[in-house]
């Protein structure tokens, strides 16, 4: 059995949280320190390239939460990150690293586009079916990795990376081939989904859709599942010690597959939400990177559900504010990507502060000699 969990994750966050909710002060503190470090380094970079970090960061804030429109757009950016962050967190709870959230999300989005274009039904049913179908396909896609891990011992990180690329090319094929909208313009995209398959916009003039509510509901559901149900107990047990779980009559293979399916279905639902709520048609090259940002979200959120929501919002702010930063303070949007990477580094470095303290102590000791 240890073989299939040979893939289990070590030293993630130093510890994958024993998430007592709400998250402990220590976790919040560590996340805040990591954020502070990342933004500080970002500021240094801005100074080096001759930009004004204060101006940049205030532009970031005002253009993301400064008015009703921006705030709504920020929440719209937050929505898919909540889904993919939950995907990662769900996996982490069972010590599974689902790097395939991106592919699962896009497969969900494509499915929702298909349902939205190809069928007709009354409004609430049509959109519900689109969301459900997206979740199912996302779950199945991720389930492939679950089965490969449980029964063939294939490391889920490798398989989900590979599945991401398979998904990209498959989607590309569908969007340029069978699902392409037949028009004279020959644009590689699907037709627009039916009105009945669209999620309502709830915060005009922004494009924030009811998908945000779906995201929050999903978060509560995942929290309940993981922390309150016997299944959640089992998946945490398998993640922490598969041998002991097996000894207790839990079936680790089954749990592994189930966790991959469930976590993938969350990503698939997220994809369906952005399709029915925001994009409304699948255009070639849709590659928003939500699945990868989700790693930062899950780590920064310390794998707790409230943490994930907060972290997703933060990255929503960054995504929305980046453009404002570029136009107002002339700081390229790629800076945000860099800060995001730094957040991942810092938040996953154990004892970030003590690291510096230790070094200082070493320097001091040397000075004494």
């Amino acid at each position: 059995m240890s073989e299939i969990h040979g893939s289990s994750i070590n030293n993630l966050n130093g510890d994958v949280s024993e998430s007592r909710l709400p998250p402990g002060i220590v976790h919040i503190g560590r996340s805040l320190v990591a954020l502070a470090f990342a933004f500080a380094v970002g500021a240094v970079v801005m100074l080096i390239i001759g930009r004004n970090p204060i101006e940049a960061y205030s532009a970031l804030i005002t253009s993301s939460v400064g008015d009703k429109f921006s705030f709504g757009e920020t929440l719209e950016n937050t929505t898919p990150l909540i889904f993919t962050g939950l995907t990662l967190t769900m996996g982490f709870q069972a010590r599974l690293f689902n790097l395939g959230a991106e592919g699962q999300l896009l497969m969900g989005a494509l499915t929702a586009a298909y349902v939205g274009v190809s069928f007709s039904a009354p409004a609430p049913i049509h959109v519900a079916v689109a969301l459900l179908a997206g979740a199912i396909v996302g779950g199945l896609w991720s389930g492939i990795a679950g089965i490969l891990l449980a029964f063939r011992g294939v490391h889920e990180v490798i398989s989900t990376i590979m599945l991401n690329f398979v998904a990209f090319f498959f989607i590309n094929y569908m969007v340029t081939g069978p699902m392409k909208e037949v028009t004279e313009l020959d644009i590689p995209q699907t037709a627009r989904i039916a009105k009945s398959a669209m999620l309502p916009r709830i915060f005009l003039p922004s494009r924030l859709s009811a998908g945000f509510i779906v995201a929050l509901f999903t978060a509560v559901a995942v929290w309940w599942l993981v922390m309150k149900t016997p299944l959640g107990y089992e998946l945490r047990a398998v993640g922490r010690n598969p041998d002991a779980a097996r000894q207790a009559g839990i079936r680790p293979r089954r749990i592994t597959v189930l966790v991959m399916v469930l976590s993938g279905s969350i990503a698939g639902l997220g994809g369906a939400v952005i399709m029915t709520g925001l994009f409304q048609r699948y255009q070639q090259g849709l590659n928003p990177g939500f699945g990868f940002t989700a790693i930062a979200v899950a780590l920064l959120g310390r794998n707790t559900i409230p943490g994930v929501i907060l972290a997703a919002f933060l990255f929503g702010v960054l995504a929305q504010g980046a453009r404002g930063m570029q136009t107002i303070a002339d700081v390229p949007t790629d800076t945000i990507l860099m800060i995001q990477a730094l957040v991942i580094f810092f938040v996953s470095t154990p004892h970030l502060l003590s690291l510096f303290r230790r070094r200082k102590a070493a320097v001091a000791a040397e000075a004494e000699v």
Binding site: A237, N241, A244, Q247, A248, G249
Partner: protein, 509 residues
Amino acid sequence: MPVTPVVEMRGITKVFPLVVANDQVDLEVYPGEILGLLGENGAGKSVLMSILYGLLQPTSGEIRIDGKAVEFDSAHDAIAQGIGMVHQHFMLVPPLTVVENIVLGAEPQRSGGRLDMETAARQVAELSQKHGLEVDLQAKVEDIPVGMAQRVEILKAIYRRARVLVLDEPTAVLTPQEVEGLYSIMRSLADAGVPVIFITHKLHELIGVCDRITVMRRGKVIGSVDTADATPPLLAEMMVGREVILQIDKSPAEPTDTVLTVDSLTIDAADRDLTLLDGISFEVKAGEIVGVAGIAGNGQDELLDALSGLRSPTSGTISLRGTDITATDRRQRIRSGISMIPQDRQREGLILSFTIADNIVLGEHRTTRFSSRLKRKFEAISAYARKLMEAFDVRANDETVLVSNLSGGNQQKVVVAREMSRDTKLLIAAQPTRGVDVGAIEFIHRNIVDMRDQGAAVLLVSTELDEVMQLSDRILVLFRGRIIGEVAGADASLETVGLWMAGHREVAT
């Protein structure tokens, strides 16, 4: 004129944040001798040897080699000074060959920085012949038997010109024949000028092999005796600090119905042509304790896995109260009343990063008592956990403490509490007292006997012969996957059972 010791450790003290692992320890090894280092688990033997091997640095104290003080910052330094060590868990790289493993880190080279495996093989072959350490040079370590792997480890040390060799619990994994072979290797090494430090917690092993025995207890050296003067009772008393054989107070068994029936159980290795368990049959009745004695690796693991439902046998049947349960899995067996104290609590028995409460309900977490379909009953779980902590004397602030923060004895009590508080028809207790303190041992033994008296069938599987002798109403001895002998607990003598364990018997049946 006194002989200078090859290795001398003076006043070694090692303090960890919460414990003093070594307290002013003195130890010396003379040329040509085999020194036994005896002590219970946790007595500080391993820490002391890690210090000698440079893996740990002492808080205070001094090491001398040939009378000269040395300091080891790493294993590298210790090796350079001629310290060789065979760890309890082998430090070999499975996919590499025997020769590659032996020369690793000290490889002979040709011009251009190339490995010179021919020279390596020649040198190793010479050493191997000289000391009678028979190994298959070109085999991969993953394919060789345990006994040979141990010889590879010894060669590794000698290849590095070890001047003293430390063997940490070397017999735990060996068959009796291999043990005899090891002893003669040790003697040959000592005679050839490489003294040996033989670490063990089994006192019977030392007499007859060692020249001198040093005993440790609770981080201190209690004393050293020449083997000629040593008797088992004396060593035992030095080791545990009082007369060791605590005869547990139990009434004769009153067995009733047959609970467990094992019939012709056979398990073949999945990856090798090897029969691990060879058609064994036995019964356990309600109200009796059946002990399975044997040296580790004689089929105990397979028997336990088969009984708990983690491994399906190649052939044969297992029945519980007359119902064939061979095909059922672990989950169903828990439900049918089989409780299991696994041999390695940290690996199989507990989820260390869970709370005591969550560990107490492990296995029963889906019962209606502790959970509905969508929500676990947290209050019932906590109340139950508190009750069991009280009953089994688990020492912690409350039931929300993480099990990883408990001592070994308390961890084991959590497992014991859980497994003994179910509606148990059959209790399988594997190494129930491994690595726990004497107080906890008595407590756990008491509970096992009580369990029997309340009408449960108990199967005790232990490599500690003393434990089997004290608790069992009947004793079965496993040797190479077979039951080589059976005797009533009251009639068993240490000598007979010990001989059976070593395979000295015309195979029964």
